[in-house]
Symmetry: C2
Subunit: 343 residues, 2 copies
């Protein structure tokens, strides 16, 4: 990112070298995001965030009054707010599955899918507690009524093995700054082969078409859905972060290490007096939610921060969430547990 700043400051943005570097940086980020979801660069549209990806996808579909969208009870505002906007503006009906607390999230989602369902839009990994939704089975049920599946992968990509084509979903968005450990200001929307045609371009710009070709056709693949003039420094940082991950630990091995860190964390927290693990599910992504008897979530978060542990609370739930990774050591986990024991 520093090199990219220097480059632009000293050589400028335009001219043959500037244009070539600009293209190289965008292509690099597209390839990096593709690698992170076991896919091809042609399947990747570049955007500024997961929320941006959700808006791109939802904005590209046409909804009529009474059309139904199925989602869950543990979605981030990056999906919920665009859904609320569709309710206000198009009279869409949003049906909410009890996926967070329910014993069977698959049944909860599938039971809401019916003849009026036009879209299923939900997370790959529930952001409160890391629960992984069974996307393949959900996609089968959605496709049976010809509804596409849009996935908020903010807590999926980089944290667990992600292959949206194998999961059978239609669109999968994610950010640069979470589990890929890149900068903020960059994100992606993966689109299944052909789905880029079903989706109208909803944020059109100079980046929508190949202006060098006769008739300026839409770019092939997902690229036509690219956002305009996004952060090139961000793209450079994301590309470097993905390279770092690949070289340091790899994709599947990193995900396995994270699952291992999570298991060790759960084991330690289970022994903390007064601590209750929330909606603990085996095999979940590396997020761990808990409550501590006699303390609000905000009190626990302040206590942890004083011990050098950064955690967060969850809106609407008085839970504390620890976000783990292969970079979290046993001594980090012990520091978390010790701070909680001292409360």
């Amino acid at each position: 990112m520093r090199a990219r700043i220097d480059e632009v400051e000293t050589r400028g943005r335009i001219g043959s070298a500037g244009y070539a570097e600009f293209t190289r940086v965008r292509d690099g980020a597209r390839a990096a995001f593709a690698e992170a979801v076991s896919s091809d660069p042609e399947r990747i549209a570049l955007t500024h965030s997961t929320s941006g990806a959700m808006n791109l996808a939802l904005g590209g579909l046409d909804f009529a009054e009474g059309d139904e969208i199925v989602t869950t009870d543990n979605e981030h505002a990056g999906l919920l707010e665009p859904l609320a906007a569709l309710v206000r503006r198009r009279g869409v009906v949003v049906r909410v599955a009890e996926a967070l607390h329910g014993a069977d999230p698959l049944d909860a989602v599938v039971s809401l899918i019916g003849p009026r369902t036009r879209l299923v839009a939900l997370s790959h990994v529930l952001w409160a507690n890391g629960r992984i939704l069974p996307l393949r089975e959900i996609a089968d049920a959605a496709h049976a009524v010809d509804a596409p599946v849009l996935v908020d992968g903010a807590q999926g990509v980089g944290a667990i093995d992600v292959d949206p084509a194998a999961l059978g979903v239609d669109a999968y968005g994610g950010p640069g700054q979470k589990w890929l450990c890149g900068p903020n200001g960059v994100g992606f929307l993966w689109l299944a082969d052909g789905f880029e045609e079903r989706l109208e371009v909803s944020a059109a710009s100079y980046y929508t078409r190949d202006f060098r070709s006769e008739g300026a056709p839409f770019w092939p693949g997902a690229r036509r859905h690219d956002g305009a003039s996004l952060s090139t420094g961000g793209f450079a940082g994301l590309t470097a972060a993905v390279e770092f991950r690949r070289q340091l630990v790899g994709w599947s091995e990193g995900a396995a290490q994270m699952a291992d860190v999570r298991a060790r964390c759960v084991g330690l927290l289970a022994e903390v007096p007064g601590l209750t693990l929330q909606a603990e599910t085996p095999g979940a992504a590396p997020l761990v939610a808990f409550t501590l008897a006699g303390h609000s979530a905000e009190e626990v978060i302040e206590l942890l921060e004083r011990s050098g542990v950064l955690a967060r609370s969850l809106p609407g739930l008085d839970w504390v969430r620890a976000s783990l990774g292969y970079w979290v050591s046993d001594s980090d986990l012990e520091r978390l547990a010790a701070a909680l024991r001292s409360a």
Copy 2:
């Protein structure tokens, strides 16, 4: 920008210090964009680019088949492509005024405004040649039929004095990386007082509402239209760039210096054999378009690049465009003229 990278890399994005810094950086950019358009931060929505601003505004209006949008014949793809998408998806009719070549751009625009006009969407400064459109008179004509005015200010903000409230327009978008000399990946959409309510939120996210307040209302002012998770490094850079401009030369003085540089450039180019200035208008913004007899625009641009001058061609016009600024010296201008004389 380097400080912001260091900050995030060493302290992380979350925790009380991280959140405070994040808010500080976004607030700083909002204030900086406001300063550049003689406005108040409450009138500014943050986005990633001018194209992003155009899409935010157009996406927030509802159009029906046959509704008319008036624009000009010299708009950038950042406005044209979203308009084309509205033609495809909503059956909107786009009416194009001959503003670039016509003797009277005001008459050309106003004569197309009628009872079916739902929006006037056009540039403040034509990007081919710097011609400044009379926005105040255009806004009066548009408002007479209750149509709002959306302005692409990509070549306006920072280059000439810009005060959208005084011009009477409803929405004005611009970028960080052009005349404000900031990084790319950041831009703004200014909204007239109250217009934020007429515009539906079209890219909703966590940033749309004040979740700390009872009932999570929309943020007051334009902020509800903010893009999600944009580049914080970009915001830091933009804020620094605006501060630099203010301290170095000021807003009106910088614009006056640029007009002076443009006049000197026009004077020098007028003496180059075979050179024709294109659609030269007095008092224009600091863009100068020209052709050189016997050479295509691309040939001229390659020739200039070999002399250390970066210029660009314009799609659809075989013109070369020089983009000037208060930072362009007489010796820079002489280098441009000398390279053209040697062709």
